[in-house]
Symmetry: C2
Subunit: 274 residues, 2 copies
C-alpha cells in the first residue's frame, strides 16, 4: 500500500503540510498534522482516522515503525515515502523521527458529553479559557490525561487544539482526552444545566485548594497566562480557592496551577474511595 | 549617573551582550544577562549586584522604570541608554521592555547551606539532575519559590542556571531561591551528612506521593526530561513514591511532577502545623 515516493520540495503535498502549520489553513481544510511515532501511535490506538502518512525510514529511531505503518496502511490510509531532504523540510521538529500524518479534525460538541455525565456521578472537567501558548495547552492535556478527566473544554480559544505544538506538548494525549472547543457563554450555561460546580483559583480566596471539598461534580476553570480567568468566570465560580504562594512571585504558570488542582481532586476522590 | 548613549550596532558592549547568550561566554566571564523590569526588580530587591544596566525609554511598558533605574544608579551601577535599534538587537525577547542588565554570577556552595540546616528542623531541598530545557529549570525555580524551599541544587548540569531562558521562565525567582550547582556524588554525600532523606518519584513505587510522610528533612530529586532520575539517585533514594497516571501517557513533564511533589510537602507540613 506504499503508493508514492516524494523527492521534490516542489510537490504540492510538501506545500500542504507546511501550510497546515498555520491555523488559517487548518481552519479552512479541517485537517491537521500529527508528527512522531508516539503521537501517531496514540492517535491510532484511540481510533483516530488518518488521511495520509508520510514516512522516511532513514530517520526512524526505533524498530517498531514498520509494524505501525503496516497497521495504518491496512486500514486504507495512503502511505507516502519521502526522501530525507523532503522529510526534513516538512518536519517541524528539531529531530524528526520519520513519521508524519495528516488527519481530519474532530468536531465534538458540549452536548456530546451529556450521556457520560448521566452515567458518571462525579463528572470532572477542565475549562481552559483563552490560553495563548500551545505548550501550556498541551501540558494541560497531558495532566488531564494523567488524572483521567471526563473532558477538556477549550473556551474562547486563542490557540486551536490542533496547533502542531499542542499535539507535541500533549505527547498525543489530545487523542485520548475528550476535548471540545466552545464559547464561554455556552459553556457556563451547559455546566449549570449539568449541575457541575465551577472551581476558580484566585489569590484572594480564603481557603487553600487542599482545604475545600472537591469530590462532587466539578469543572476546574483556568484562564490566560497574563490575566488569569476572566471576570465573567470568576463571578460565576461556585468555589474559589487559592494556591499558597510563599515566595516573591505572585502566581504559578497556568499549566502548573491546573496540574495541582487536578491532582488535588484525584487525591480527595481516592481518599473518599470513589 | 547616565553615562553613555549607545547608537551603534558595532559597539563592543552590544557584542558582549549578544555573546552572553552563550554559555561559553557566561562561563568564561562569570557574567550573565537579566532582562525585563520584573526580573531586574526582583534581582535588586534580593540584593543582587548589577554591573551595567542598559535602558531604552522608548520601550518602557509602565511608569515605574525611572524609579528603578534611579535606585540602581544610586548604588553605583553604570546606566547606559541605548537607541531603540540597538536595544531591539541586544534583547532576546519578542517584546523587549527597555531594561537589560549585565550581572555577575554568584558562586554558592553546598556547605553554604549548612548553617540554615542547623537552624531549620525541616530543611526542604530540590535536586534537579541534568535538566536539559531552560524552561523546565525556570519553572522548577518558580514552584520552588512558591512553596518556599530551603534551596535548589542543580546537579550535573546540562543547562546552566544563568541561561537567559532560565532567568525568564523563573520570572526572577532565580534571585530569591538559594541555588547551588554541584556534582551528583558530592550532593549525595552532603545530603547524607546533613541527615536529609532523598525522595524519588518512579512509576514502580508502591505508594502514591500523597500517601507517604514527607514532613521530615527532605530533598526531592528529579531527573532528565527523557530518562528521569539516574540509576545512582534512584538507588540512593530513601523514599520512593509514584505519581498516579490514569491515562495513556506514562509520565508527566518534569516541572509538573516537581511542582506536585513540592506542594504535597507543603500540604503535609501545613497539616502538621509546622
Amino acid at each position: 500500500m506504499i503508493e508514492k515516493h516524494l523527492t521534490s520540495l516542489q510537490n504540492p503535498l510538501v506545500k500542504q503540510v507546511i501550510h497546515l502549520r498555520d491555523r488559517h489553513e487548518r481552519d479552512k481544510t479541517g485537517l491537521f498534522l500529527i508528527e512522531g511515532y508516539r503521537e501517531i501511535l496514540r492517535a491510532v490506538d484511540a481510533g483516530w482516522k488518518l488521511e495520509q502518512l508520510l514516512v522516511c525510514s532513514e530517520l526512524f529511531l526505533g524498530s517498531n515503525e514498520p509494524t505501525l505503518i503496516q497497521r495504518i496502511a491496512s486500514r486504507g490510509t495512503q502511505v507516502i515515502t519521502a526522501s530525507e531532504k523532503v522529510f526534513q523540510k516538512i518536519s517541524y521538529r528539531d529531530r524528526p523521527d520519520g513519521l508524519l500524518a495528516i488527519a481530519p479534525q474532530r468536531t465534538t460538541k458540549l452536548s456530546d458529553f451529556n450521556l457520560q455525565n448521566r452515567a458518571n456521578k462525579h463528572p470532572f472537567y477542565v475549562v481552559a479559557e483563552a490560553i495563548e501558548k500551545p505548550g501550556n495547552l498541551g501540558t494541560i492535556l497531558r495532566s488531564s490525561d494523567a488524572v483521567g478527566v471526563s473532558g477538556l473544554i477549550v473556551c474562547d480559544r486563542c490557540t486551536d487544539i490542533y496547533n502542531p505544538n499542542v499535539v507535541r506538548a500533549s505527547v498525543g494525549t489530545l487523542f485520548t482526552v475528550p476535548t471540545v472547543e466552545a464559547q464561554g457563554e455556552e459553556t457556563l450555561r451547559w455546566l449549570k444545566e449539568q449541575g457541575i460546580a465551577i472551581l476558580a483559583a484566585t489569590p484572594s480566596a480564603t481557603h487553600a485548594f487542599t482545604q475545600v471539598d472537591l469530590v462532587g461534580p466539578l469543572a476546574i476553570a483556568v484562564g490566560t497566562e497574563q490575566l488569569g480567568l476572566s471576570e465573567r468566570w470568576m463571578k460565576e465560580a461556585d468555589l474559589q480557592v487559592r494556591i499558597p504562594m510563599n515566595g516573591v512571585a505572585d502566581s504559578l504558570n497556568v499549566a502548573m496551577a491546573t496540574t495541582l488542582l487536578l491532582y488535588e481532586v484525584l487525591r480527595q476522590r481516592q481518599q473518599a474511595q470513589l
